[in-house]
Symmetry: C2
C-alpha cells in the first residue's frame, strides 16, 4: 500500500489509507484517543478507539493504517479511524524545550535557533522556507526563460572581491585563501567566457563585525550578470520583471503561507526610480533627515520607502546614480556626470535587497581605474586579464535571498529566514 | 529591433536580423570578408561586401544588423548579409594564448585553466557545462516531483562531519570554524525538522592532500536525505530512478553535446547490485586483484565496472554492505550481520560517484556508537540532540556533480568539468 500525504487525503473518504508523520497533539479520553498527526504537508486527526498505545508521546514518528472518514468537527472535515499503528522511533527527551504545536511559538528567537530541528517542525516556521524555496525556484525559472545559464563559481578565492576588507581567511594547505564575498569577478568572467547571461544561487561570506537584525555572516546570494546590455536600465528592467513574475507566482503557490503571515502582495507595475540626489533632497525636505555622503543609512531606507509607498503605492524603489567614490572599482561611470556611476540599489519595504549596475568593460579603463582607486591590478590579474580578450558591455545585480524572504513575510529578524544562521556569536547548530 | 540568437535564425530567411556575439573566425578577400560570428547558442557566417572594417580582430564583441540569406555552403545553410556593424569593445591582447576557434583545443589543460574565460569560449568546452547544467536541473526537477524540498545549509561549521580530518580551517572572528565536508548532519536534521525529504545543491570542501584526475578540494555535491524509508534499498531505488530520468532527459536536451563527445548513453534499467564481499571474490577470481580491507581501490573500481559491463551491459553498479569499520559513525548496521552496514556506493564507468546508506535514527544507539568509535558525543551535541525528539528511519546519498559530468562525457580530468577548479596548487583564476 502506498503512503498518502495529508494534503492528498480529501476525496478519499471511505478508503483505507497509509499515513506517516509525527504526533502533533494528543487528547486522551481513556477509551478514545484523538491524535493530531503532522506530516510534511499538513495535519489530520486520528481516532484510536481501543485502549492500546498508552503513553504515546508528542513528536513520536508513526506509521498508521486506517479508514478515512468525514468529521465536520475535525480539521478540514476529515479524520482517520486507526486500524494499525506502528511507532517508528521512541523519543528520548525529558521535556520538549519548545511547544511546537502552538500556532505561534512563544519561545525566544535564541531558543528557536538553538533547537532548530524542533522549531522548524512548527507549521508557521516551516512556511517561511516554503516561500523561500519558491523564490529560488522562480529565480531560476524566470532567468532560464530569459536565456541565462546557471553557474557554480568558487567560494575559495585568492583575493577579496572589493579590496580585501571584511573577508574570512582560510588556511589553504601552505598558504592563505579567502571566502568569496560575492561571485562578482567570476560572474563577469563567465559573461566574457561566452555564456553571455549567467546566474548563480550560492553562498556569500561577509566577516562584518555587526550583529543586527538584517546582517548574516553567511548568506545565499541570488546573482545575475548579463552581457550585451545597453545600460543599467536593462538591468533594472530585468529585475523589475523578475519581481513581478515572482510575486504573481507566490500569490498562486504560497497563498496559504502568505495568509498565515497576513501578507497581501502588491501587484507590481513599473518600479519607481529616483536618483540618490533626489532621495537626499526628499529626505531632508520632508523628514529633516540628513544622509551620509553618497549613500543613505538604515533610517533613510525606511523613510524613503514610506514616501514611495504614499506617493506611488509601491513597496519597491530603485535608487540610481550612486557616486564613483562609494561604489566598487568596476562600476561604470555615468555618461553625463563622470563622478556618478551607472549603478543602483533596490529598496523593498525599507531595506536594501539588491545592489547592481553596469560594469566597466574596457581593459585599459578598468586597469587605470584600479590604479586610481589605489589597488594593484596585478593582485587581480586573473580577473583584469579577461578584459583584454573582448568583453561586451555588461552588468548585473545580486539579491539577498534571506533579506527578500524576511521582507516578503515581514519577519523581524533575518535569522528567521535562515535554516541555520551564522553570525558573530553563532556557529551551531 | 529585438536581438535574435543564432539558434533561432532558421526560418527567418529574407528577414532583417539583429545579432550579437564575438568574431570567431575571419576570412578576408579584400572586397569581401566572411566572418564567423559566435554567440551563446551557435555560429553563423556574416558577409561584408564593402571595404569597411579593416583590421577587425578575432574575439571582438559585435552587434550586427543584416539580412538573413540562404547559402548552402555556409554552416547550417545560412549567412547574414551585413548592413551595419558596431564594435562593442576593442580587444587589447597581443596574441591569443589559446586558439579558441579550433574544434578541439590543442592547448594544455593547465593553459586552458589559466585562461578559463578564453578556453570556455570554445564550443566543445562550453558543451560540458550545458550537460552539467542539465544534470542539476534534472536533479531538482526529479526530486521535487518526489516531494523533496530544496534546502541551503551552512558551509561554516563548528566541527568536521566525519571526525575532523581533511578539513579546512577558517578564522571565524575570535575562534576557529571549518568548511563543511558535506551537509550530512544538516540534511539529517532537516529530515527530523519535519521536512521529511530534502536535497541540496551546494559546495563541499575536502582538504585532501592528493592532486589526482578525480579529486577536487572544492566540489558541488548533489545531496539527498529521505525520511520514513524501509531500508537502504529505498535509496538505491530512488537513485536508480533518478539516473534513468536524467539519462532519458539528456538524450533529448543534450543530443548535440553528447554527439560532440561521441557518447551514446545507455538505456538504464535496474542497476545491478553486489555486496562488497561478492565484489572482492570476483576481483580475486577473475582478475587476480586483491582489495584493501572493507573497500575497493581505484583499480578495483575500474575492473568491477568492466565485469558488470560485460555481464550485465550496465555502466552502473551498486556495491552494498560495507563493513561498520569503514563507514561513518552514523551508518546503520545490517540486520543480519552487525559488522556490516546498510550502506552502498554507486560506481559508474569505473569511478565511485555516490556514497549513501541508511542512518542510525535512535538517539541512544547513535550516542553509544559515537563512544564506541572513540568520539565524544558532546562535540556533536547540536546534531545528536536532534535524535531525542523523534527521528524517523531515514537515509540518503550524495552525488559528485563534477564526477558525474566527467564520466558521462568520458573526460580525462575532473578539472575539465569544473568552471574554476580548486586543487592543492590552484586558487586562481
Amino acid at each position: 500500500m502506498e503512503r498518502t500525504y495529508v494534503k492528498d487525503l480529501s476525496g478519499q473518504i471511505g478508503n483505507p489509507v497509509l499515513l506517516r508523520g509525527w504526533v502533533h497533539k494528543i487528547r486522551d479520553f481513556g477509551k478514545l484517543k484523538f491524535i493530531m498527526l503532522r506530516d510534511k504537508t499538513g495535519l489530520v486527526q486520528l481516532v484510536i478507539s481501543d485502549q492500546t498505545h498508552e503513553g504515546l508521546r508528542i513528536e513520536t514518528p508513526l506509521e498508521v493504517r486506517g479508514i478515512l472518514q468525514k468529521n465536520d468537527k475535525a480539521v478540514k472535515g476529515l479524520e482517520v479511524q486507526v486500524e494499525a499503528l506502528s511507532i517508528l522511533a521512541e523519543p528520548e527527551y525529558d521535556i520538549l524545550p519548545i511547544e511546537i504545536n502552538r500556532e505561534d511559538l512563544n519561545s525566544a528567537l535564541e531558543t528557536n535557533l538553538n533547537y532548530r530541528s524542533l522549531s522548524l517542525r512548527n507549521v508557521k516556521k516551516r512556511a517561511i522556507f516554503k516561500v523561500q524555496e519558491e523564490i529560488t525556484e522562480c529565480f531560476r525559472t524566470f532567468l532560464k526563460g530569459e536565456m541565462f545559464s546557471e553557474i557554480h563559481t568558487p567560494k575559495l578565492v585568492s583575493s577579496g572581491t572589493e579590496g580585501g576588507s571584511e573577508v574570512f581567511t582560510v588556511k589553504y594547505f601552505d598558504r592563505r585563501a579567502f571566502l568569496a564575498q560575492s561571485p562578482q569577478f567570476y560572474k563577469q568572467m563567465m559573461v566574457g567566457a561566452g555564456f553571455e547571461r549567467v546566474f548563480e544561487v550560492g553562498h556569500a561570506y561577509r566577516a562584518e563585525l555587526h550583529n543586527t537584525w538584517r546582517h548574516l555572516n553567511e548568506y545565499v546570494s541570488l546573482d545575475v550578470e548579463m552581457g550585451f546590455i545597453k545600460d543599467e536600465f536593462d538591468l533594472m528592467n530585468l529585475e523589475n520583471r523578475f519581481m513581478k513574475y515572482l510575486f504573481d507566482h507566490l500569490k498562486e503557490t504560497c497563498a496559504e503561507e502568505l495568509e498565515m503571515y497576513h501578507i497581501t502582495l502588491e501587484d507590481i507595475g513599473e518600479i519607481p526610480k529616483m536618483t540618490l540626489e533626489e532621495v537626499h533632497e526628499i529626505l531632508l525636505d520632508r523628514y529633516d533627515k540628513k544622509s551620509p555622503v553618497g549613500n543613505i543609512d538604515a533610517e533613510g531606507e525606511i523613510l524613503i520607502s514610506q514616501y514611495v509607498k504614499e506617493k506611488y503605492n509601491s513597496d519597491f524603489v530603485f535608487l540610481t546614480k550612486y557616486p564613483v567614490k562609494k561604489r566598487p572599482v568596476y562600476a561604470m561611470p555615468d555618461d553625463e556626470n563622470p563622478e556618478l556611476t551607472k549603478s543602483f540599489d533596490l529598496i523593498y519595504k525599507g531595506l536594501e535587497i539588491t545592489t547592481g549596475g553596469q560594469r566597466i568593460h574596457s581593459y585599459s579603463h578598468l586597469k587605470n581605474n584600479m590604479i586610481k582607486f589605489g589597488l594593484n591590478p596585478d593582485d587581480f590579474d586573473f580577473y583584469v586579464d579577461t578584459f583584454k580578450y573582448g568583453m561586451p558591455p555588461h552588468g548585473g545585480f545580486a539579491i539577498g535571498l534571506e533579506r527578500l524572504t524576511m521582507k516578503i513575510l515581514e519577519l523581524d529578524n533575518i535569522r528567521e529566514a535562515t535554516l541555520f544562521p551564522r553570525d558573530m556569536k553563532r556557529l551551531t547548530p
